[in-house]
């Protein structure tokens, strides 16, 4: 049997025993010796006295010392391990089955995780082992694998052990044990054993896998449970994180949705922080009922189009790894345009939208920074309007029932809406249903039967016209219009 301490620093508390001893000596009423005449009367009085004399001060001192010692020992967290005579001279073949699953990352103290303790234990075991013992290492996170085959080189094996880290995987003890037994069959030493270091997390122990391992009892298995060292519960985790960009608003928004879960049974509120580029941007105190999951949304105005990285983080608990989730996001610089074709043709190039799409994006998105998407009226309700900055309604007759409200919301949130006139357009419908959106009231369709109509472009001071070069303006004057709506 051996005794280890998980927090040996607390053993300094044993020095505290000196306090009651000091108190004992300082407050010790000096045991005076008095030569007295009527001692026999004192003895008689003592016999008759009902009042019990006070507890022996020595006993009191002992009790105090014991209390302090036990308290210190309890804080130091003693680990009793009943190992088979570690100093036995017989060399043995030992399989170290090391549970490196995610849950072993739980902290016991501020600096140490359960996994660190397991590693420490393994290294110590290794040092204590007699020469010519051989060792092998199996990692028990799913899928279990042999990390190190039989070796007698203690130094190399120690390095191997110390290089291990907690994985993000689950546990598969059964598979690991199966592999360990197979390894032991090829072991050289007579004395064979399995040393399983785990936190006994439930999900790693699947009964069906154990039932398959027949000769499990033929080798001594020593299970070291490290879960007792866990300092506190795992209170919460950030389960998932989703980053979206919103184009509609005047300034584009980055929306980060964090799915958080509360594991504790008592605490309702835990601070949740949102970091962007290493800086704390926002802190929330969401109210999550014990055992519940909540989606907390953070939004951040995007001012630049550079890639962003950040994280959502919970306050600390015993398992820090699941308290934060990172994200990185490259905001799109492109203007996404939804072109709704009110009169699509089966052959693409016969549709007006075909030309519009080409016009918006002649070569590639990276050049024009305009990303058009063509949609039919029927597809329109399936589209998420917040994914687009601009909607062009090209030659549509009627919108789906009630869709004008969606469009109004879109415009209200900062979206741009363009109407492309055409033969499908009914002024009556437009005036009745889209009156709020239209700058003018449509009157009637006017057909020019003789010559085509041209743009005059006399006054080019409007900001919209500024983007066109004079040459382009000249060209625009040559465009023929055969019909128009009067307002």
């Amino acid at each position: 049997m051996s005794l280890n301490f998980s927090s040996p620093l607390f053993l300094f508390g044993l020095l505290g025993i000196s306090i009651p001893v000091l108190i004992h000596f300082l407050t010790r009423r000096q045991q005076k010796q008095i030569r007295f005449s009527a001692v026999y009367l004192l003895a008689q009085s003592q016999k008759r006295s009902i009042r019990k004399s006070r507890p022996n001060r020595l006993l009191l001192l002992l009790a105090r010392c014991l209390a302090i010692a036990l308290f210190s020992l309890a804080l130091a967290n003693p680990l009793f391990s009943f190992r088979e005579a570690p100093l036995s001279t017989d060399p043995a073949s030992t399989v170290f089955v090391l549970d490196d699953s995610y849950s072993m990352g739980i902290r016991s103290t501020k600096e140490k995780t359960l996994f660190d303790h397991a590693l420490e234990y393994a290294v110590k075991e290794l040092q204590d082992a007699p020469d010519s013992s051989e060792f092998s290492l199996i990692l028990a996170s799913s899928p279990a694998r042999i990390e190190q085959d039989w070796t007698s080189n203690k130094a190399a094996f120690t390095n191997k052990l110390e290089a291990q880290a907690v994985s993000y995987r689950t546990t598969h003890i059964g598979e690991a044990m199966d592999k360990a037994i197979k390894l032991l069959e090829s072991a050289e030493q007579k004395k064979k054993r399995i040393l399983l270091m785990t936190d006994l997390d439930k999900n790693g122990w699947k009964e069906e896998t154990f039932s398959k391992i027949a000769p499990l009892t033929s080798y001594p298995v020593q299970i070291l449970n490290f879960s007792k060292l866990q300092s506190a519960d795992n209170k919460a985790m950030v389960q998932n994180i989703q980053v979206t960009q919103e184009f509609l608003t005047r300034s584009r928004l980055l929306r980060v949705k964090a799915e958080v879960k509360n594991f504790s049974s008592t605490i309702n509120r835990m601070p949740l922080s949102f970091f962007l580029e290493g800086k704390l941007v926002k802190e929330e105190l969401p109210d999550i009922r014990p055992g519940q999951t909540l989606v907390q949304e953070f939004s951040y105005p995007l001012r630049r189009n550079q890639p962003l990285s950040g994280k959502v983080q919970f306050s600390e608990d015993s398992l820090p790894a699941d308290n934060e989730r990172f994200f990185s996001f490259h905001p799109s610089q492109n203007i996404r345009v939804l072109v709704v074709d009110g009169d699509p043709e089966t052959i693409p190039h016969q549709s007006e939208s075909f030309y519009l799409e080409r016009a918006l994006n002649p070569f590639s998105v990276s050049l024009s920074h305009i990303d058009p998407t063509v949609s039919t009226l029927a597809e329109l309700p399936l589209r998420n309007l917040s994914d687009f900055s601009v909607i062009i309604l090209a030659n549509i007759s009627e919108l789906p029932q009630g869709y004008e409200l969606e469009l109004e919301k879109f415009v209200f949130n900062g979206g741009a809406l363009l109407f492309g006139m055409g033969d499908q357009v009914s002024p009556k419908y437009f005036n009745e249903h889209l009156g709020n959106l239209l700058p003018v009231k449509l009157d009637s369709l006017y057909h020019s039967r003789e010559d085509a109509l041209h743009l005059l472009l006399k006054n080019n001071t409007h900001p919209v016209m500024q983007v066109f070069s004079p040459k382009a303006l000249e060209e625009m004057k040559g465009i023929n219009f055969y019909s128009m709506y009067t307002v």
């Binding site: 045991q31 005076k32 008095i34 030569r35 005449s37 004192l42 003895a43 006295s49």
Partner: protein
Amino acid sequence: MENSAQTFDTQVLSRVSTLKMIAINLVEGLLTGQHRSRHKGASVEFAEYKDYSPGDEIRHIDWKVAGKTDKYHVKQYEQSTNLKCTILLDASGSMGYSSPLNERAPKMEYARNLVAGLSYLLLKQFDAVGLTLFNEQVIEHIPPRSKASHFQHILHGLANISPGGTTRITEVLGGLSERLPRRSMLILVSDFFVQNQDLQKSLKLLSSRGLEVVLFHVLHPDEINLPFEGDIVFESLEEDPAIGLDPQDIREEYKNTIQNHISALKKNCNGVGMDYVFMDTSEPLDQALSYYLLKRKSLIKL
């Protein structure tokens, strides 16, 4: 004796000497004075021979001696021996108690002064005073004499006391009662810390011998109040085994015990017609003694 004048409080002696001790009970003795005697006219006791000198009464010449030695010797008589008083002073270990708490006179010092005062008083009124020191047995015995110079002997006897041994008052009194002259006075000064002894029986014995007995019960305040604090190992001044305790735990019980002890002794004395005087060493000696003598004086039936 060294510094006997310092050892004994002269103030005490002078103040006490103004009061005269008067025996109440009839005591044998012929001397004229304030003492009444049942045996008036009875011969006085022979004391010693003295060479004849002119002026001595011729009738006191011992003619038998003159016939044998051809020299005139005059018989001298103990004229002042109207009261024979033996002071019995307890010199056992317990009397040697001195308080570790304050610098009051040790108990033995107090008892010594008391005895000296009494002796001086008795000698001044020409009574014979003897001193007997005892613990398990009689240590020293100074027979009663009435000469003024006898005071020095008594003082010597007192000065040489070193308290020790256990108190065996019954045995001592049993032995002494035979030797003490009948109808004399016996002053017993002790703390009466006696174990397993039938004090009452001894007192009865003395009383039956026609002795006038006065008991001076001398106790130190520490012995009455047990004022000690803390864990203390009490070692006996006599032969009792030491005992370690916190006096606070037993103080009340002890006070009851000692008061019972005092009252039992007082009751015993009164039962056999003896005087009992309780003396607390914290009280000034002259005060305590004066008080007692005045009390006796008031009882006198002249």
